[in-house]
Symmetry: C2
Subunit: 255 residues, 2 copies
């Protein structure tokens, strides 16, 4: 049984709490948040506190607060040589105060308050500064997910950056599609099955092999017609750059 | 019972054939292709031909060939005043030869040879030049899918263009993510659950509401770090333009 204390009350903290509570191998000993009201609804299930001096002893302390708050909170912890991890994709493990043993427990997924996530399918990327802490952190990850991966800081930074492309940027393309359809009184909803199929296709096929469409075919007639159709300069720029990107990717393999 | 003849043997033609054959309300009377070898494997199930002069009579002729071949094939048809539709998102119904009644039967999905598609969830957008043909085309669509929509040519053009954004361009972002992860020896596969969740989220939430991340938060520190991490100028350009696009979308609602 691994004992943990969760610090923070954002989406990641909430989803981790739920996943840990559902596991037989984890005991959530305490939940800390600076603002206690965010977790008072859990007070009958778990010990809660808003006072770092009241933190109980545990195998792992999980700091799941916003990136900017991680270093400061780690400095406030009133103990030494315990094992502390944060959950951020973009903060260094070295940003944690060095008085404790340090690591990272990075769940690579987008979490929202409302959406239920099957945590067993969420990849958890782990990193520890001391080798001896690895086994424990790995056990913790394996207690809630089938996908765990030991990575170093450079790999985590690359994954976090790549996640911005496949999540935030992709979502912005959905937004642009929304604007394009609405502008002609067409229904964005009609695109939803295609959006889902595009993501499903990539589960078994490389993005390179999955590509289709006018840019890949170098279908100049369609590209020209599309550019004429776009009256928003901003959408035009995106169309041009992404078309060039596809051509660039696929041309270099044609030689 | 609606009788149809399919013309063409690409992915759309194959998926339509399968869907029609599975429907009780449709009788595929014949399958035509210029190159007969592409459909000879079906010769025991359906009448096949590579000769337009041998085309049998049917309620609807469905031209599912590449965009460039639609007009020419429609001109070659040796009959008049029958009902002809094509399946393209970007070709006008007026490109079909006017000797016949004309329409469009546009399934809004990405089709590949290998992937099995549940056609009942594929939106079929229909358009007829003569009002009297609408009911028949609608019945045909309803015989294979739960999602049918009457649209005009402008709406179809907008949907086809928007489809390029959510399918081809999104897939290219997956490709860039692949390049970024590989360059650091990180596994692209770790991003697959995130890719799927991003598409699932949009099924119930508008892209505007679903947006998260550094660009939306205007988290300059993270944006700067990401740009520094990108050594490919091309990836940098995409990052900048898409970040500006997100800011632009979300700033205008902050005022």
């Amino acid at each position: 049984m691994i004992s943990v204390v969760i610090l923070g009350a954002g989406n990641v903290a909430h989803h981790l709490y739920k996943a840990f509570v559902s596991s037989e191998h984890v005991n959530v000993k305490q939940w800390y948040n600076r603002n206690i009201s965010a977790i008072t609804s859990f007070k009958d299930e778990v010990k809660i506190t808003d006072d770092v001096s009241q933190l109980v002893e545990a195998d792992i302390y999980i700091i799941a607060v916003s990136d900017d708050g991680i270093a400061e909170l780690s400095q406030k912890l009133p103990f030494e040589d315990r094992f502390i991890v944060h959950t951020s994709g973009s903060v260094s493990a070295y940003d944690l105060d060095m008085k404790n043993r340090r690591g990272v427990f990075y769940p690579l997924q987008t979490f929202s308050k409302s959406a239920n996530i099957d945590f067993s399918q969420v990849p958890v990327c782990i990193e520890t500064l001391m080798r001896k802490d690895h086994a424990l952190l790995k056990s913790l990850a394996e207690s809630i997910t089938q996908i765990t991966k030991r990575i170093n800081s450079d790999q985590r930074a690359a994954l976090h950056l790549a996640a911005v492309f496949v999540n935030n940027f992709t979502n912005q393309l959905y937004r642009v599609a929304h604007e394009i359809t609405e502008s002609q009184g067409a229904e964005f909803d009609l695109l939803k099955p295609l959006i889902l199929e595009t993501a499903l296709k990539i589960q078994d096929l490389s993005p390179f092999k999955a590509q289709t469409g006018p840019a890949k075919r170098n279908d100049k007639k369609t590209i020209k017609r599309h550019l004429k159709l776009l009256d928003n300069e901003h959408h035009k720029d995106l169309y041009k750059l992404l078309t060039a990107s596809i051509k660039n990717t696929h041309d270099q393999y044609k030689l």
